[in-house]
Amino acid sequence: MKQVFSRPPELIDIPSHFCPGCHHGLIHRLTAEALNFYGLRKKTIAVSSVGCSVFLYNYIDVDTVEAPHGRAPAVATGVRRVLPDRFVFTYQGDGDLAAIGMSEIIHCANRGENITVIFVNNSIYGMTGGQMAPTTLLGMKTATTPYGRNFSNDGYPIRMAEFLAPLEGVAFSARVAVDKIANLRRAKKILFQAFQTQIRGLGFSFVEFLSACPTNWGLSPVEAARKVEQEMIPYYPLGIFKEKKETDHL
């Protein structure tokens, strides 16, 4: 018999701190697999962000700098400018990227920084205990929308993958999910594509992962995954929204 599935060595072999059924774990693994596939461990500089995934560096075995909440794209820009030949990625939650970090992500994308952004949209602030995120669905109750998110007070949930796509600097933008095996496998392919976008120097690549937060959704892991399918995907369609085939600016 041959081992057909094993932990990628880029994913450090320790127990994770994530709640049971949290999709962060899956997205971490896919990231490690992509690093592995392209042989990037030795030339990668990762930028972690603030959220449940702050401990990225405990799990992914690459050089890492911890960015302040929301600022990973700016930190990554600093990294990128100094070492243009390294592989650089950020890993950011939806509070981090789409609320406090909105300016940094847009300008980074618009500059076409040749980095990859892994964006984990779980429609909630996980780490701080379940407050409304910019991505929280309308009507959803959270710690700070006890009566449900309401457009006229709280605005609409924002679709980052589509929103960023029109920016000239964006070479690749897509949305994926890991709620079931088919989506997960497609997610992996798309993440690999994003990595390749950077490797080929095409510019800014962005992959939005729909992700379950069973804890703050108050659901079991299986129910939470189902909510991704039944409530999130209808509002946040999966797909590739931009895909440059070659650099336009060199």
Binding site: F5, R7, L11, P15, F18, P20, R29, K180, V222
Partner: protein, 67 residues
């Protein structure tokens, strides 16, 4: 014909793997591991094809698959 190796102490009993198994080969047992989680185990019936779906869906990378 496949085989799954489950690192039961790492399992958090989330159940995502069993949902993913086309063969319904896995189930959550009634024993807890040291962390207090009821962990996943083979149901003892059916057959594992080694398709890896369970392992791929496990957020805690608990399962190794052989084929």
């Amino acid at each position: 014909m496949g085989k799954v190796v489950i690192n039961i102490e790492r399992c958090k009993g989330c159940g995502l793997c069993l949902e993913a198994c086309p063969k319904k080969f896995l189930s959550i047992g009634d024993k807890r591991n040291l962390n207090g989680y009821y962990y996943v185990q083979s149901r003892g019936e059916g057959e594992c094809t080694g398709c890896s779906s369970c392992a791929e869906m496990c957020p805690d990378v608990v399962i190794e698959v052989w084929r």
